[in-house]
């Protein structure tokens, strides 16, 4: 499998004060974002945060209420979807149920008036690229979810887009397949070199895939940056909670975040200590996750290395002293 079937270059995408309102409800509230050409951007957030509306505005399936959308160097606000250099992969894949895989993939070529042999040839090349060559004559209903997704991917890529838009592409797959498709997306991104914009509500997915992760909440961007930056320096309490693995605690003049895996139990060498009761215990293999009842925090998580935990095991209801070093705390913007 090679990516020679596609020779496109990634396009940069820029959102300037982009806004989407449905009547009086504001879905996207004037966001600014610059996505570099060829990067993998994940729009991340809970449902209703405006991430899908943003993607659909970029794709051209939703009118832009206000602000500007730039793809490449041109403003694309009113352009039809096919003229934006984007291609979209839909959440439910939206494969045409009456067409076989080849015709599904060749659809956009047919619309352009490419001759039948030419478009079938290019469609089968594209199906090979996503490893679906041997299913070319099947109808979508005869394919599994994962296979349908590959076909949808091929259909999006055959237009040689500069930007590939993915609307929750992995949410309909079972966990095992999800991990495999994640790797595959990453590989395709590396080989094709085009810009990927991927909407997801899973922070694991965003962490695993993104160069640029954008956390959205209530139509605004809470924080945008590389996943490592988000994880180590969450800007707001929302980001810290949404990314997970953090405790939000009351600090001096506001809230602080501290990573759950930086918390130690017992007395040794901690600058800050709290006392709590073990409420829940979860064994995760390489680590053990504890939830503590701590005064002043509604949820206090501790992630311990498995071996360290079993050196002095605890059980539910035990009183325990939790502590961490001052340099692991990180102040949050209100």
């Amino acid at each position: 499998m090679t990516a020679t079937a596609i020779t496109a270059t990634g396009l940069p995408v820029e959102l300037v004060k982009l806004r989407k309102a449905y009547g009086s409800t504001v879905a996207v509230d004037g966001i600014d974002l610059r996505i570099a050409a060829g990067s993998y951007c994940c729009l991340l957030g809970p449902s209703g945060c405006g991430k899908t509306s943003t993607l659909r505005m970029i794709a051209g399936h939703e009118d832009i209420s206000d602000g500007d959308l730039l793809i490449g160097d041109s403003v694309m606000n009113g352009e039809p979807p096919a003229r934006r250099g984007t291609a979209m992969m839909f959440q439910s894949y939206a494969l045409f149920p009456h067409l076989d895989c080849t015709d599904n993939v060749a659809f956009s070529l047919k619309m352009k008036g490419v001759s039948k042999e030419e478009r079938r040839r290019r469609a089968s090349e594209m199906l090979e690229l996503v490893d679906m060559g041997k299913y070319a004559a099947r109808l979508p209903a005869q394919l599994s979810g994962g296979q349908q997704q590959r076909v949808a991917l091929a259909r999006a890529l055959i237009t040689r887009p500069g930007v590939l838009l993915l609307d929750e592409p992995l949410s309909a797959l079972d966990p095992f397949l999800r991990v495999r498709m994640r790797e595959e997306l990453k590989r395709l991104h590396r080989e094709l070199g085009i810009t990927f914009i991927h909407v997801t509500h899973s922070q694991t997915e965003a962490m695993a895939l993104a160069d640029l992760a954008v956390v959205m909440n209530q139509g605004r961007i809470e924080q945008a940056g590389p996943p490592r930056e988000l994880f180590n320096r969450p800007r707001t309490a929302f980001v810290a909670r949404f990314i997970g693995g953090h405790n939000v605690i009351a600090g001096e003049g506001g809230q602080d975040a501290v990573r759950a895996d930086r918390i130690r139990l017992g007395d040794g060498g901690a600058d800050i200590r709290v006392e709590g009761t073990v409420r829940a215990l979860e064994y995760h293999g390489s680590s053990v996750h504890l939830s503590l009842d701590v005064p002043g925090a509604d949820d206090f998580a501790v992630i311990l290395d498995e071996a360290r935990f079993f050196d002095s095991p605890l059980s539910i209801g035990d009183r325990v002293l939790a502590g961490w070093s001052r340099r692991d705390t990180h102040p949050l913007v209100a």
Partner: protein
């Protein structure tokens, strides 16, 4: 609705809960599927199978001008199939069916498309859909008769056109003609096209339209490449309704053609009024066969199973 071939498996939980006696419960469990199927089977037997078999039987009987005789003769069929009147009448009926089908299809598809894809709010969709059904609140006959004062020689349309100076002479073709017959058919049966096509269209995932647009399809291309093929089951069901209704009709043709045009249904009705029941029965059997062939032909073209 999905059709399942196997009778539903009786629930074990309820059987064991109900089962006070150990002998009765398994018997009931085995009989349950048959009991469940019985009402429909009996209804079909009494109201469909028995009448059709009676008609088939009578079609082989003999008759004269005053009575009919139980017998087994083929004369009814021979007379029917060798008479040029039969063939002319069939041709005329088929012409009505084809014209009505073509017109109701274009109206039905357009209306359904508008309702399904251009009316955004569900409330408005339902309101407009109900508006489409308003003609059905009156009887067929009333709906037909109401055309007569409108289309007649001195009717509203003719007098309106004359007083507007568009024509000098009243248009004769408006009433008691093939035109008025087809017009009445379209008026009566257009909804039978709208409903199944609308139903098919409402099942089309809106993301497919977006996907087509994403692939560069224009409005017409979306219609031709996505919506039309996916509406085919609805078109087939509507076509079956319209064609069978028109093929079997007699009252519309009689009323709207003023007795100047014939259809198979009318021919059968005339035979019945002359008490030639065996001839009418033979005619009905042939008509049934013709209509069934037409339906089968339509079903071969389009698979409607997933729509049921």
């Amino acid at each position: 609705m999905t059709m399942t071939a196997a009778p539903p498996e009786p629930s074990r939980v309820s059987a064991s809960v109900r089962g006070g006696g150990k002998v009765r419960a398994p018997l009931l469990r085995r009989a349950a599927p048959y009991l469940q199927a019985a009402p429909l089977a009996l209804t079909l037997l009494v109201f469909l199978l028995v009448p059709i078999l009676t008609i088939v039987a009578v079609s082989f009987w003999d008759y004269d001008s005053i009575r009919i005789y139980p017998d087994f003769v083929l004369t009814n069929y021979v007379e029917l199939l060798t008479s040029p009147v039969t063939w002319k009448t069939y041709l005329n009926t088929l012409k009505f069916a084809a014209l009505t089908w073509a017109i109701t299809l274009s109206i039905g598809f357009t209306v359904a498309y508008f309702l399904a894809f251009h009316v955004r709010s569900t409330t408005w969709q339902m309101v407009l859909f109900l508006v489409c059904t308003i003609p059905f609140w009156t009887s067929n006959i009333i709906r037909m008769i109401s055309w007569i004062p409108f289309l007649g020689r001195n009717g509203l349309l003719n007098s309106g056109l004359i007083s507007a100076g568009i024509i000098d002479q009243p248009l004769e073709f408006l009433l008691f003609s093939d035109f008025s017959v087809v017009l009445a058919f379209v008026h009566l049966y257009a909804l039978f096209m709208v409903v199944p096509i609308f139903n098919s269209m409402m099942r089309i995932d809106r993301a497919l339209v977006e996907a087509a647009r994403d692939g560069g399809a224009s409005g017409m291309q979306v219609l031709r490449e996505v919506i039309l093929p996916l509406s085919k089951p609805g078109i087939a069901i509507g076509s079956i309704f319209v064609v069978t209704l028109v093929m079997g009709d007699f009252i519309t043709v009689r009323l709207m053609s003023g007795g100047q045009s014939a259809s198979i249904g009318l021919m059968i009705a005339n035979e019945i009024s002359l008490l030639q029941y065996p001839a009418a029965a033979a005619n009905a059997v042939v008509l049934l066969a013709v209509v069934l062939i037409m339906v089968v032909a339509m079903l071969r073209v389009v698979d409607i199973r997933k729509e049921l």
